[in-house]
Symmetry: C2
Subunit: 243 residues, 2 copies
Amino acid sequence: MNNAWHKEMLAEVKAGGRISDQDIVEKVRRAVLTQRLPPDTKLPEVTLGEVFGVSRSVVRKALTRLASEHVVDQRPNQVARVRAPSIEETRETFEARRLVEGEVAAQLAGRLDAEVMATLETQARLETEAYERGDEPARIEHSLTIHHLLAEHSPNRVLGAMLTDLVLRTSIVIALYKRPSLASCYLENDHPRLLDRLGKGDGEAARACVNDHLHSLEALLDLRPRENSIDLMSILGRTAEQS
Amino acid sequence: MNNAWHKEMLAEVKAGGRISDQDIVEKVRRAVLTQRLPPDTKLPEVTLGEVFGVSRSVVRKALTRLASEHVVDQRPNQVARVRAPSIEETRETFEARRLVEGEVAAQLAGRLDAEVMATLETQARLETEAYERGDEPARIEHSLTIHHLLAEHSPNRVLGAMLTDLVLRTSIVIALYKRPSLASCYLENDHPRLLDRLGKGDGEAARACVNDHLHSLEALLDLRPRENSIDLMSILGRTAEQS
DNA sequence: TGATGGGGAACTGTATACAAAGTGAGGTTG
DNA sequence: CAACCTCACTTTGTATACAGTTCCCCATCA
């Protein structure tokens, strides 16, 4: 567990009122997204319970939900941990999102009512402004809002729900694998261009736009294979053979 | 709850040994698929606990999982019920499955090793045989196995998991909306044709094949709007106005 | 007849106790 | 010195008790 995060949560909980399992899900999800809870962080039930002022029953339910959202790993008889998707899974998640969000965008083109379009454009503008003043958390917030709005207004609710899940998962891996040299994963004009094509009702153009956007985003990540414990083992093994 | 199902489960549980939450998930899922637990059936925690010989804790966990699989509806302070997807959702589920399974098939074409292909062909043959002798439960079993194998061997595990979910959901709605006049939802040659194209490595042909198959399947259902309680209300309301 | 409201049964929400499993530090042995 | 074993401690799994909510029958009243 992360101690700074503890105190923050404790303060927030004291100020607020009752806490339900869904509240815990949202707070943990957000903490993972913003990397206040880095991958592999242990999340013991009692500790979480103390932090939120509830018993293990509630925490357990929240952890089960978070596991079904692919945010935490819950294995029998072991403490739940913040999930760290592999590089392979990261690629696959992006590919799945391209497929689903592309289709949603294609279906949505020309069908969004003026009010939603206006909201989308506002969010796109706010994202640019946040980027220009260097406020990355706000920028991410507005970017996520755009994609969540698309998912929410998908004519196909099943695809919409799948997209919501995929947006969350890609956000997590972006935070995880972002090149350290990059201050932001902002892609200038990508969102405005997409909104333009959605407004003009060109479904296939919108689909292509989403595809490009997600390919560009994936390209901003550092997805080169890393030396991990397993690789280390095999290397040491080979060294031993050679000696 | 369904009384016949109760007794059946009770007998099975007595014969077997320990029961975990995952066992309950599987047994309930199967019972829903085979319509031994029809839509809207109430699933009280204590009753399920008695049936399986475990306490509410375990049942609750199982119900939460089933809810995340879209098999049951779990709302606060109300008994869990077997979900009854609407006609609208049924159409959307089929559409989503066409998108995902089409992509999986396209990626899988030409990449399946001989062993898996052999298993798939065996299942297709067994399905035909089951159909010819009128054994619908066995037919469904083999058909499901084919689609589960495709999901399982998807090179993209994320899409594979999504497909597993969608196969389950379409199976449930097929059981729900199957035209009563039809003894079976068997589509002659659809599966062998798909396997042929997968074997030949023609991705786009495989995708088209999956699309056709799922469109045909959807066409076998009776998805005309029904008079439900809400419609009844509006009709009665209008009658009252006219009088 | 039909609407309304009380009240008890049924059910879920939460906390807690105990059992079982895993984890890790530190000593022991080859 | 490293591998291994042990034992105490930590953490999860399951059952159960009690509190709070909802559901539904039925008596009451217009």
